[in-house]
């Protein structure tokens, strides 16, 4: 076919180049050594420091007391509030995100709505921390635009017991980066629902409701739950947003650890380590769940 594949003289004196330079055994491993070193230094070592520290008392002797101290009502309370906020925003954000993703995929809206939504979700899921807290203060704070507007039409949020600096206010703020993340991860899953499945269900006499409850939702459930776990983790580790919204006056685990780093507010370094280690355990359980759910969702939805 091609005329020039024979046009160049072949250098016959040289051996044909080897397919790969001869590297073998331990030299192969050298290629990944920097990565392993990095992971060891900056992920494994700090985690181990926290793990070991949580089993030590002030003098460095082995103890289990730090974990017993975690049972202190104020610390248990902090875990409980953190977990509740994470659950509430994972569920609320997940639901709203799912409904919006549903609207632009199966819901029959024009194409431009979908691309606008996805673009905006990409931005909003990355818009968090200090600026997000400011944005919500000017919206729903005591003199925020929405608060003032609602007051004009006769609804006084703060009289009714709402406060931006409380549980629900913080949850509402977290939702701003939660539901866009749900939109971004669940849209491909909704795209993966095949038209044939719906047609097959309809041919067998299923109503749209039956199709959703018996076919679509069971297929989507692992993806939905998996994403909600990601959202949970997102809220669970959040520090900057909570700190700048409440000025630190909310009893969250991240806020506690933050004050512990600034100074030994717990009067026990080991307890600080145990707190941090507890967070890693909760996240570890969550990510393991996520891993299994993801494998399950891949059975039907190949992405």
């Amino acid at each position: 076919m091609s005329s020039n594949s024979f046009s160049k003289p072949v250098d016959t004196k040289r051996d044909a180049p080897k397919a790969r330079p001869a590297l073998s055994g331990w030299r192969d491993w050298l290629g990944v050594a920097p990565f392993f070193l990095f992971v060891f230094l900056f992920i494994v070592l700090p985690s181990f420091r926290l793990l070991i520290g949580s089993f030590q008392d002030v003098d460095g002797n082995f103890t289990l007391k730090n974990f017993a101290d975690l049972m202190d009502p104020s610390i248990l309370g902090a875990y409980w509030v953190t977990i509740r906020i994470s659950l509430a925003t994972a569920f609320g954000g997940g639901l709203l995100g799912f409904l919006m993703a549903y609207a632009v995929t199966v819901g029959g809206l024009p194409r431009w709505v979908r691309s606008a939504l996805l673009t905006f979700s990409g931005v909003a899921s990355n818009f968090a921390g200090v600026p997000l807290a400011f944005a919500f203060i000017t919206t729903l704070g005591r003199v925020g635009m929405v608060t003032v507007f609602l007051k004009l039409i006769g609804v006084d949020l703060y009289d009714k017991g709402f406060s931006l600096y409380s549980f629900w206010g913080l949850s509402l703020t977290y939702m701003y980066f939660q539901f866009p993340l749900m939109v971004l991860t669940i849209t491909p899953a909704l795209d993966g629902l095949r038209r044939e499945w719906r047609e097959a269900a309809e041919n067998l006499g299923a109503t749209p409701f039956e199709y959703w409850v018996k076919v679509a939702l069971p297929i989507l459930t692992p993806s939905i739950l998996g994403t909600m776990i990601l959202l949970f983790g997102n809220a669970f580790g959040a520090y900057a947003t909570a700190l700048s919204l409440t000025g630190g006056f909310i009893n969250l685990i991240t806020i506690l650890i933050g004050s512990q780093i600034k100074g030994d507010v717990l009067h026990n370094v080991g307890l600080g380590y145990a707190l941090a280690f507890g967070m890693v355990v909760v996240m570890g359980v969550m990510m393991t769940l996520y891993y299994f759910l993801r494998r399950r969702s891949e059975r039907w939805l190949k992405q």
């Binding site: 192969d28 990944v32 992920i43 709203l96 809206l109 600026p131 580790g237 700048s244």
Partner: protein, 264 residues
């Protein structure tokens, strides 16, 4: 297929309201720095504030270093496990997911405890602290960078490219820098901009390691004592995030799952 789209529009409308109301109120508020008139005064004050330029510059430099470190760490590793050590894939994927398990506040806690004492003493010098900051950010963005690069490698024929380069006499450095990197341009760029978006306004790690030198802590401090400037800064950082995400989408036409990050 004509169906009732009322509920679809309803949820989109609700979500849009959620998206836009905070932005609109912040923007309107930022225009009110001068009494009784709308003006861009608070923006002028921000742009002429030396600390704004200084902290933003600092965070940009940190972001650039983070991106370099992250690329040099991730690309050769991801390439190598595809080519020579496929048996390590599961293990390395697991390692890149570890940052998800360790919240930023816990990470910085551990890093400070390990590296401020013997034998490292990193936090005793500015250079050491900055290096630690870069390392922490490289950890934080590792999952996204790895996923982006690994997907990029999956889309090209690594083995054939390598063998073709070798048959032309290229050594490993040439293969990596002149064959693999250029083919991964899109993946690397989207990973890089995601890193940029995450690092620029990052607060948690920056506030404990370098404090007010970085942009995130500067935002926070401004918010505590200058109300109007804080809202104009919020708008500015929203626009910055928008710009980075827009660039990613520009590079990544059609693929949508790469723009997920988080440092909240």
């Amino acid at each position: 297929m004509r169906r009732n789209t009322f509920w679809s529009w309803f949820w989109i409308f609700l979500g849009t309201l959620y998206f836009l109301l905070p932005l609109i109120s912040t923007f309107l508020f930022s225009l009110r720095a001068k009494k009784d008139v709308l003006s861009f005064l608070s923006y002028e004050r921000i742009f002429t504030d030396v600390n704004f330029t200084r902290t933003l510059g600092f965070s940009l430099v940190v972001a650039v270093f983070t991106i370099l470190v992250s690329i040099l760490l991730v690309v050769p590793t991801a390439y190598w496990i595809r080519l020579r050590l496929p048996q390590l894939r599961a293990m390395i994927e697991f390692m890149t997911m570890l940052p998800f398990v360790i919240p930023a506040i816990v990470l910085v806690f551990g890093l400070i405890r390990v590296f401020s004492g013997a034998p490292f003493f990193l936090t005793n010098t500015y250079a050491g602290t900055n290096a630690l900051l870069v390392a922490a950010y490289a950890v934080l963005t590792l999952p996204y960078m790895f996923r982006s690069v690994d997907a990029g490698l999956g889309a090209i024929d690594v083995r054939s490219l390598t063998e073709a380069a070798q048959s032309l006499g290229a050594n490993w450095a040439t293969i990596l820098f002149r064959v693999i990197f250029p083919n991964l341009r899109v993946a690397i760029l989207s990973g890089a901009f995601l890193t940029l978006a995450t690092v620029i306004g990052e607060f948690t790690i920056a506030s404990f390691l370098v404090g007010i030198k970085a942009f995130g802590p500067y935002l926070s401090l401004t918010g505590q004592n200058k109300t109007y400037e804080a809202s104009s800064l919020t708008i500015i950082s929203f626009l910055l995030t928008w710009a980075f995400m827009g660039l990613i989408q520009l590079f990544n036409r059609g693929k949508s799952d790469s723009a997920l990050a988080g440092a909240h």
